[in-house]
């Protein structure tokens, strides 16, 4: 069940990233039509993503909620790379990397990817 939810979160996130604008639940249901998901399932998935801080929820027209990603996919990848290269200032033992291979300018470019919002 956990795995299935994780997989759905990922699929929902892909939909939100593709649209690039706040999306209503029923649009996500439609985009994932081949999976034949219930409206409430998709809403649960989106709310889980919101709780984890990946998705922003805003009130739209009528009573519908609209969802939008908090950051782009590239920003999340850049954040992981900063973690992986121990450049985030968090304690370095969280991850074990194979070898350091990043130069100052590269590290700055990674940080900038996060600042451009």
């Amino acid at each position: 069940m956990v795995n299935r939810l994780g997989e759905l979160e990922r699929a929902a996130m892909d939909v939100l990233w593709d649209r690039g604008e706040p999306v209503a639940v029923r649009e996500v249901v439609r985009a994932l039509a081949d999976r034949d998901l219930a409206y409430t399932t998709v809403m649960t998935v989106l709310n889980r993503l919101a709780k984890k801080g990946f998705v922003r929820r805003e009130a739209g027209e009528g009573r519908a909620w609209y969802y939008a990603p908090v950051a782009s996919r590239e920003e999340y990848v850049a954040r992981l790379m900063l973690d992986a290269l121990s450049l985030t200032g968090d304690r370095e033992t969280a991850l074990a990397h194979f070898a350091q291979s990043v130069t100052e300018p590269e590290a700055e470019a990674l940080s900038q990817a996060l600042d451009e919002r």
């Binding site: 979160e9 973690d83 074990a96 291979s101």
Partner: protein, 293 residues
Amino acid sequence: MNAALHVAGTLALCTVVAGPLAGARWVWRAPRTGILLWQMLGLTWVMSVVGLLLALGLAPYDAPIPVALGRWAADAVRGDVTPLAVLVVLGLLSALDLVIGLLWTWWSVLRVRRRHRDVLALVARRDDAAPGALVLDHPHVVAYCVPGARSAVVLSSGALSALAKDELDAVLGHEHAHGRERHDLVLLPFSALCAVLPRVRLVRSAAQAVALLVEMRADESASLRHGALPLAAALRRFGAVRPPEGALGAADIAVEARLDRLAGLPPLPPVLRWSVLVAGLVLVSTPVSFLVF
């Protein structure tokens, strides 16, 4: 005073040995033995610091530390406190500080990892070229392990395209060894010590030495399965991506050391490995015997 002298001697020995051991090459020939020795040395050092303070503070009771501590506490409750109490309190506080430091480090590491896993679940993909690993689409050459009960090995697409098949296998073997042998737990007490005593150079160099040994152990495990040559080639590739800029950082020195080792340092003979472990056990038993009995 007997306890204080013994513990002080052990503390001095640990402190004197740690410096040379941090720079020693012979431990590279038996990384696992080296890692164990460092654990024992660290434990001895910490227990000796606490033990010395307690032994000095409790000297007037002329009794084993646990017994004397009980009497001291009873006296303190009655308001019968000598100036030496400062040492006892200091000893207890430093023990508490170390435990809190360890828990705090553990908790913050877990938090970083959990967040990292959550994000990975959204943006990483599987790739047939790297079975058992997660792939991140990014040009930097990166390979790492997210340790935990279920560890994850992650590669960047940059690493995927930079490495030949046998090199890739060796790198994956290296990362899986980190996860399988829970090297993060080996490093944890030393990170905690660094957090509690940030300005002590010896602690930092000990932590670096253990980190290097952990990498060497993962290298050892990977090269047994996939050969030393592909692993060394992969390490060079990781280094080669970086244009040389000024002085070598600690990470580069570590890579040089690992390449040195892979180029053919002979393993330490078992007799020596066992002698080292016995010496470590003798060392650790001194403060234990005074703190517990």
